[in-house]
């Protein structure tokens, strides 16, 4: 075990600062990148969902989640309201289905889980770098690194990451990982998608899903709202939604920008490394120049101080 000395720490932070100072050029290049070219996603067609909750049960089984509070065939959960809101993902359920009742329409069911953004805000907000966007399209996280700061919970525009409040010793973030470890890595369909009796969800390359989504809208005039939610929102998400009712009536946040969340702070963040890397050296230089050849002046000061003390 080597101890980190002050000298090492400073050297490290200088190197880090230099590395960050190089970053803006890289970021500028990545600004127009639309995620990984072969990233996978899921198209959710809400006009098909009947709210059977099979997907929730499948997720529970696949992810070895603890026993639910209520059976998965108990539909009273749709009436649950907590803190004025419908159900949201928790440490015990990475996906939940909610029911909405738009005026003049049949009830609409909306499954929520991590949308696996192209440029995830959770990832950029995480200061221990626990999150990873894999080339397969999943946004996964390393729970051994997570310190439980909950920055990602605030950063996520979809309010997805959940917190293991029940753990007193080591509370960490819990969320849908697109079945990465058990399925996605091997090119397999996620458990929730497979379990759905209505094929509400189609799994595949995000690029192809967008085509399928627009084809469905074109083929069935009047059936869908002419929008694929997630195609543009916050820089694009892996999970995409089709709806028969306006998205806000099904609980979607329709005020999200089409730019990734990171773009809001990119300009500011680009200045930070400059400040950190250049300012110390610059002002040290000024100081050295300003005090050059004034060594006896210090002596005077000291003597002056000394006189005051006496």
């Amino acid at each position: 075990m080597s101890k980190i000395t002050r000298r090492k720490f400073l050297a490290g932070s200088m190197a880090g600062g230099a590395a960050i100072a190089m970053a803006p050029t890289k970021k500028a290049f990545g600004a127009n990148l639309e995620g990984f070219p072969d990233g996978m996603g899921v198209l959710v067609d809400m006009t098909r969902c009947v709210g059977c909750r099979s997907c929730e049960a499948a997720c529970n089984k696949e992810q070895n989640l603890p026993e639910p509070n209520k059976s998965f065939d108990d539909f009273s959960v749709f009436d649950e309201i907590k803190h004025g809101e419908k159900r949201r993902p928790t440490e015990k359920a990475y996906t939940v289905v909610n029911r909405y009742e738009p005026e003049g329409s049949e009830p609409v069911y909306r499954k929520i889980q991590c949308n696996h953004c192209n440029e995830p805000a959770c990832l950029t907000s995480c200061f221990v770098n626990a999150y990873t966007k894999t080339p397969e399209g999943a946004v996964i996280y390393n729970d051994k690194v997570c310190v439980g700061c909950r920055n990602c919970m605030i950063a996520c525009p979809f309010s997805i990451p959940a917190y293991s409040y029940s753990s007193a010793i080591n509370p960490i973030i819990k969320k849908c990982i697109f079945c990465y470890d058990t399925r996605l890595k091997n090119g397999q369909t996620p458990a929730c998608v497979e379990a759905c009796p209505q094929q509400v969800m189609v799994f595949g390359k995000r690029k192809e899903l967008i085509k399928i989504a627009h084809d469905r809208i074109r083929r069935s005039p009047g059936k869908y709202v002419d929008q694929v939610y997630g195609e543009k929102e916050v820089g694009g998400t892996g999970w995409l939604y089709l709806s028969g009712v306006p998205f806000q009536q099904a609980g979607f946040n329709v005020s999200l920008p089409s730019e990734p969340i990171i773009n809001n702070v990119k300009d500011f963040l680009a200045i930070v490394p400059m400040v950190l890397a250049i300012w110390p050296a610059l002002f040290t230089g000024f100081h050295l120049l300003a005090t050059k050849g004034k060594s006896h002046g210090h002596g005077d000061d000291h003597s002056h101080d000394g006189q005051e003390e006496h």
Partner: protein, 173 residues
């Protein structure tokens, strides 16, 4: 006595309706009265589908069978191409709808017949067709109204004998 009387009446009614239908519908020379749908049975038992009853209740074969029985298609999208149809050699759902789960690759890739892409897999074809109509007609829509759940299904849904016990549910984790 009451039972036999009822059965007789039901049989008679069925016979009369069948006769009427045979006069009306040219493409219904022979069809199975009952079909057991059990290829996908796992969490639920197979469904014993009363095909005869549904033949009587629907307007025509095309409501479920698209164009494969030779009757004109109902869907306006399909009707753009399918105009004068002959009965096909294969008519059952599983002949066209794959029992493998559909993915974007298989939806758009394999099927070379233009416009036959984005075809639901077998499980979805059943549910979308059956449940969609049941909702519209006011027929039963509960999962177990059509197929009883198996023990594996009970475990999957944490229901029945696997139902969460209140105490472990709230304080378990």
């Amino acid at each position: 006595m009451v039972n036999t009387g009822k059965k007789f009446m039901a049989g008679l009614a069925g016979l009369i309706i069948c006769c009427l239908l045979m006069m009306n519908c040219y493409a219904m020379e022979s069809y199975p009265e009952e079909i057991e749908i059990d290829v996908l049975a796992e969490l639920y038992e197979g469904v014993v589908f009363d095909h005869g009853l549904h033949v009587m209740m629907t307007e025509g074969c095309a409501v479920c069978h698209h164009h494969t029985t030779g009757t004109p298609v109902v869907d306006s999208y399909c009707a753009k191409c399918h105009t004068n149809e002959e009965p096909m050699a294969t008519v059952s759902c599983k002949d066209c709808h794959s029992s493998e789960p559909v993915t974007a690759g298989s939806v758009r890739g394999k099927d070379t017949v233009l416009f036959h892409d984005d075809k639901p897999d077998l499980k979805a074809a059943y549910h979308l067709s059956c449940l969609g109509c049941h909702q519209d007609m006011g027929a039963p829509v509960g999962c177990q109204d059509c197929h009883a759940r198996t023990e594996a299904g009970d475990a999957f849904f944490h229901s029945g004998q696997f139902a969460p016990t209140g105490s472990t549910g709230s304080s378990g984790h």
